[in-house]
C-alpha cells in the first residue's frame, strides 16, 4: 500500500462485521483491551453477544475501569473478565497462557497490545518494542495453539489469531536502511543504531 492509499482509506466508512449469529456465545481474548482499539474491539464483541471476553491489561485497575465502561454502555454484565498480562515479561506471558489453556474454548486470540516508545531499553533479550510487539505476541500465540486447535475440533469451528499490525510496516524502508535488512534484531538491540 502506498501512503496515498493509506490516507485515502482513512475516509472510507467501515462496516461492523460481527453480530449475534457469528460471535454469539463464543470466547475471546483481547490483549490490551483496557484502552484504544482493544477496548473498542472488546465492546463490539460484548455488544454482539459474545459469551466471554477476556481483556488483558498491564494494570488490573485500568482493565477494571474498561470493564465497568463496557458494562455500562452495553448493559451486559459478567461477560468481561480482566486478566493481568505484561508483554515485557515472558514469565507473565507463560502464566497468562497457562490460565487461558484452562478455558472451555478460545474462538479468537486478538493480539492488540503494543507499544511505541523512543526510550531505549532491552527486555527479555531484545529492544522493548520488539519484545512487546513481536516476540511476546508470537510466544503467546504458540502457547495457545493447542487450545485453539482443541476448540476447532470440539466445536467444529475455525478459531482465529488476529495480530493487530500497522500500515507503517510497509513504510519501514528508512528504518531498515539504518542497520541493513540482514539482521534487524541485532541492529535494533544496538542503542547507537536504534537511536540514529
Amino acid at each position: 500500500m502506498s501512503q496515498f492509499q493509506i490516507i485515502g482509506e482513512q475516509y472510507k466508512k467501515l462496516p461492523v462485521l460481527i453480530n449475534s449469529a457469528n460471535v454469539g456465545g463464543k470466547t475471546y481474548i483481547v490483549t490490551g483491551g483496557n484502552t484504544g482499539i482493544g477496548l473498542e474491539t472488546a465492546r463490539h464483541l460484548v455488544k454482539a453477544d459474545a459469551g466471554l471476553v477476556i481483556i488483558s491489561s498491564r494494570k488490573v485497575s485500568s482493565g477494571e475501569a474498561a470493564k465497568a465502561d463496557i458494562e455500562s454502555t452495553t448493559g451486559r454484565k459478567n461477560v468481561v473478565q480482566v486478566w493481568q498480562l505484561d508483554l515485557t515479561s515472558f514469565a507473565s506471558v507463560k502464566a497468562f497462557a497457562a490460565k487461558a489453556s484452562g478455558l472451555e474454548r478460545i474462538d479468537a486470540l486478538i493480539e492488540n497490545a503494543g507499544v511505541m516508545t523512543d526510550k531505549f531499553a532491552i527486555v527479555e533479550g531484545n529492544e522493548t518494542s520488539m519484545t512487546v510487539n513481536v516476540v511476546s505476541p508470537f510466544l503467546l500465540a504458540a502457547l495457545l495453539m493447542p487450545k485453539l486447535q482443541e476448540t476447532a475440533q470440539q466445536f467444529s469451528t475455525t478459531p482465529r489469531i488476529v495480530m493487530v499490525g500497522s500500515a507503517l510496516a510497509l513504510q519501514a524502508n528508512k528504518e531498515l536502511e539504518k542497520g541493513g535488512s540482514k539482521n534487524i534484531f541485532a541492529n535494533l538491540n544496538d542503542a547507537k543504531v536504534a537511536d540514529r
Binding site: 510487539n133 476447532a152 482465529r160 519501514a172 534487524i184
Partner: protein, 102 residues
C-alpha cells in the same frame, strides 16, 4: 511525508518484523493442518494512547496527523473485528479497511 514516518522510533520496524513472522507462521502452519487462521489487521491512523511514551516532537507530529484524518478508536476497531470473522483466505494476509489486501 516520509520524514515524519522516520521519527516514529522503532515502531514501523517492529511492525514489519511482525508481518514477516505472520507470513512464516502461515507457511509453516496451514489452516488445513491446524484449523486455526492467523491474520493481521491494520487499523489505520487512530486517535489512541499509542504514542504516549514518545517525545514531545513525535507526539506533536502524530497529533497533527491525527487532527487531519484520524479515525476514532471505535472506527479503527472495525478493522480488528473484521479479522475475527475473515475466512481461510485471510490466513497469513495483511488486512486493511475491512478487506484482505496482501
Amino acid at each position: 511525508m516520509n520524514q515524519w514516518l522516520t521519527r516514529l522510533s522503532s515502531y514501523p520496524l517492529t511492525k514489519l518484523v511482525q508481518l514477516y513472522a505472520l507470513r512464516e507462521w502461515a507457511t509453516r502452519y496451514p489452516v488445513e493442518k491446524t484449523n486455526v487462521i492467523m491474520n493481521m489487521t491494520a487499523p489505520g491512523v487512530c486517535s489512541t494512547g499509542l504514542a504516549r511514551d514518545t517525545n514531545a516532537r513525535t507526539r506533536a507530529l502524530i497529533g497533527t496527523i491525527r487532527f487531519i484524518f484520524a479515525r476514532t478508536p471505535e472506527e479503527g476497531s472495525r478493522t480488528t473485528v473484521h479479522g475475527v470473522i475473515a475466512g481461510s483466505d485471510s490466513h497469513g494476509k495483511f488486512l486493511s479497511g475491512c478487506q484482505i489486501k496482501e
